[in-house]
Amino acid sequence: MPGSLSNFKFAGFKALLAAFALLLVFAQPAAAQLSFKPTAEAVQEDKLLNALKEGDKISGRISIPDKNAANLIQPAGRDWRDFHRSKLPWIGGVAILGMVALLALFMMVRGRIRVHKGFSGKTILRFASFERFTHWLTASCFIILALSGLNVSFGRTLILPLFGADAFAAMSAWAKLAHNYLAFPFMLGVAIMFLIWIKDNIPGRLDIEWIKQGGGLFSHGKHVPAKRFNAGQKGIFWIVVIGGALMSVSGWFLLFPYLPGNVTILQFWTVIHAVIAMLFIAAMLAHIYIGSIGMEGAFDAMGTGEVDLNWAKEHHALWVEEQQKKAGAPSDRTPHAVPAE
């Protein structure tokens, strides 16, 4: 029965066709899901970026002179950006505000450190004019560098809302220029300081005793013998020299960003620059405090260069003895001694 066989074959073909049609109907949503996953590519890119190790980059080929422009993506940059946005403000805030709080507490508890025996009316030359010049050269540059640097880290958050975008932009542009160029006299000042004061800042046994007794800072009328610089002043000297050197090297790389060779090294030095800067500012706040309102008679050392003899004997007894021996003067007199103003 050819006819019935033909009908059977056609019926079988129809069933097969229907089965394919059903398959297509059920398969269609699955196909649609695969082709319309909007985040599928992004997920893959994210996995790809996470798979890249520190220092890896996705680079292309370019023909312009700046070969670093060939780097399209550098995943380590995200960590660097995260550090500047979230960790650095905390480091800076804790270091600087913490130091301000400590100094305020110290002043409340200890009060101003007075000259125990009172002013004698005689003075002794503590710093020559060139030493004072070097100190103020470095200090004045440091203050501008610190304020303009803090503006880079905190200005957008703290100053922009107060003064508005235009004033903040103009101020920041001038601050950046001052930061870039005053860095050079600052570096010169640090280098001269190192050369002229290194001989008096070598740590010795006396410093251990000074540290053990807290420099006499926490007890009234108690003074630890010291030479020209006590352990605290030596600490400040080395903070300035080492901190200044690190700030100078890292700052040099920031001023001339092609020097580090690649962006990963540049990012490393920006982190060093920022962290050292915060610690440096905190340390200098302590130095400024004890050299001005914290200790009676201390500012004269860098103001006029001459300090009261009693102040010198209380804080630098061994240095006064050395000076008097050199001058061949009796123990309570000095050739530099002149009536106090």
Binding site: I64, P65, A178, N180
Partner: protein
């Protein structure tokens, strides 16, 4: 006081001198980071334009 004023004056003088020396050596970014074939005729006066 004299040392302080002298130090301030020297700091400003040194900063200005360094700025002048560096600026004389420095190329603008639109010139330093492009080849001549990629430069536009007038780069304008924005941040990357001629100084």
């Amino acid at each position: 006081m004299k040392s302080f004023v002298l130090a301030l004056a020297f700091a400003i003088l040194a900063a200005v001198s360094v700025a002048m020396v560096l600026n004389s050596y420095q190329e603008a970014s639109w010139a330093a980071f492009t080849t001549s074939g990629a430069r536009v005729g007038d780069p304008g006066n924005n941040l990357t334009g001629p100084t």
